[in-house]
């Protein structure tokens, strides 16, 4: 790079660093981080994003910056590992490279790495496990029978090469019971229990699988059925467990709405997520115009803020002949209340904010 160009960049960097210090806001941190990324200083960009997130933990832009910077770091690490592999290869290096490629979602590069790995170290089951994992991710995403078949073949090969490897059997048993081959899955789970009798997760899995109905052991037929139906026959253990959590979140939302409607002057309160709504107060049906007004206004406010590049509209208050409509948005959920002029708007907004933040947290859980 030309010396004058370099000096200009450093001058700009100093100016942005000063701005981030004097006027800390997500945009000042993002601007500075972006320059670091352009200069391939991803580690500094990561630090900048982390500093920014410490001050503005809800900023979407800063999270995107952190993600982008981390991807850059991973890419750099992948280049370093490839260079090391060219000099002297080892299964450990291949595994590290494959994991990075899996994180980056680069399936073609991952396939090439696993191919090289199995050629150099034909007795190492790791390459087949990694390839099986990647295929399995694609299968769960697209539910394509071909991907499922290849995933099962890779994992079965890895099991034959290293029968004591628990992770391979775990992945294989999961895909088997989820497509309907319950008896086949149980065989692998029994082996897993023999390998480690103290593993409680295996016991939970065995109990979960025992409640499912076996659909046979012809994997080709079962995988084709999954592809044609567009859904897996059985849910995973994790998906079967969080039902009480979802119930709890609805209970919390109802309790939050009761608190909001209990504030003096609040006439109606609603919690909306997508097309579903929970209401409290003087709302008689789903056709109540209040719900439509809230949705339309929140959407228009969101569009206004986005197009004006001032982030996401989190709170909106509409005043008029009707009184005041307070709307709080967080992610994909929104809560709103209709109050009269005597009502404490700050208190209502604060309660609504707690409601949407809590609900979103519960959804993430």
């Amino acid at each position: 790079m030309h010396l004058i160009q370099r000096m200009k960049i450093w001058k700009e960097l100093r100016r942005l660093a000063h701005r981030a210090k004097e006027q800390p806001s997500p945009s000042t941190f993002v601007d500075l981080g972006q320059v670091y990324i352009n200069l391939s200083l991803h580690d500094k960009a990561v630090r900048m994003a982390e500093d920014g997130l410490a001050l503005f933990p809800k900023s979407v832009e800063l999270r995107q910056l952190l993600d982008c910077a981390r991807r850059g770091l991973r890419n750099r690490r992948a280049i370093e590992i490839r260079a090391k592999l060219a000099r002297s290869s080892s299964p450990k290096l291949f595994r590290e490279l494959a994991l990075i490629q899996m994180d980056l979602g680069d399936s073609n590069a991952l396939r090439a790495t696993c191919q090289q790995w199995s050629l150099r170290f034909p007795d190492d089951a790791g390459s087949w496990l990694m390839l099986g994992q990647a295929r399995l991710t694609s299968f769960y995403r697209d539910l394509a029978a071909r991907e499922g078949r290849e995933a099962v073949q890779c994992l079965e090969r890895a099991v034959v090469m290293d029968p004591a490897e628990a992770q391979t059997r775990r992945l294989l048993s999961e895909v088997l019971y989820r497509i309907g081959a319950v008896c086949e899955a149980q065989k692998h789970l029994q082996v897993l229990r023999e390998i480690d009798p103290s593993d409680q997760e295996v016991d939970q899995l065995l109990n979960h699988v025992a409640t499912l109905t076996d659909a046979g052991d012809d994997l080709n037929v079962l995988l084709d059925e999954v592809e044609s139906h567009g859904s897996l026959r059985n849910s995973s253990l994790q998906a079967a467990l969080p039902v009480p959590c979802a119930r709890r979140s609805i209970t919390e939302v109802r309790a939050g709405l009761t608190r909001v409607s209990g504030i003096v002057g609040v006439q109606k309160a609603a919690f909306i997520r997508g097309s579903k709504a929970i209401v409290k107060g003087e709302i008689k049906s789903a056709r109540d115009p209040f719900l439509r007004i809230v949705r339309v206004t929140a959407k228009a406010a969101h569009r206004f803020a986005r197009r004006l590049e001032i982030g996401s509209a989190s709170k909106t208050v509409v005043e008029g002949e009707h009184g005041r409509i307070c709307i709080c948005v967080f992610g994909e959920v929104l809560a709103a209340a209709l109050c009269d002029d005597a009502c404490d708007v700050e208190q209502v907004l604060s309660e609504l904010q707690d409601l949407v933040a809590g609900a979103l947290h519960a959804v993430k859980e």
Binding site: S25, P26, S27, K58, S59, V60, P289, F290, R292, I293, V296, T297, A300, A301, R303, F304, A305, R307, L308, E309, I310, G311, S312, A313, S314, K315, T316, V317, V318, E319, G320, E321, H322
Partner: protein, 119 residues
């Protein structure tokens, strides 16, 4: 017209205010005083869209028209006050306390209304 312009320019000096404009209901800028990074045409178009959409949904639902909209976003805040055939848009930076500038905003609204009556 210059009185409206003066009122808007004075409001721009209030703490935390990044810009102010008087926009007609159909989206034309009548007067504005905005920081250089804000484009008056963009502000007028977006504000008019927000006010028209909100007003339409309110009247269709039988709630009557809106008189004021206050919006808080991640990196900024905005207040819209409905006038007769137009509305006042005030843009704040994210750290501004809108309540502190409420008096200035109300005063500007009064001045614009008075000036509009005279013309």
């Amino acid at each position: 017209m210059s009185q409206i312009h003066d009122a808007v320019t004075e409001l721009r000096n209030a703490p935390g205010v990044k810009g102010a404009a008087v926009v007609t209901n159909d989206g034309l800028v009548a007067a504005s005083s905005l920081s250089p990074d804000l484009n008056p045409d963009v502000i007028s178009g977006l504000s008019s869209y927000l006010m028209m959409t909100t007003n339409r949904s309110l009247t269709e639902g039988g709630y009557g028209a809106c008189s004021k909209v206050q919006l808080n976003a991640t990196h900024g805040k905005a207040v819209f006050v409905q006038l007769d055939e137009s509305f006042l848009v005030v843009l704040f930076d994210q750290f501004a306390e809108v309540a502190q500038a409420e008096h200035e905003v109300d005063e500007t609204v009064m001045r614009i209304r008075r000036a509009a009556k005279l013309t």
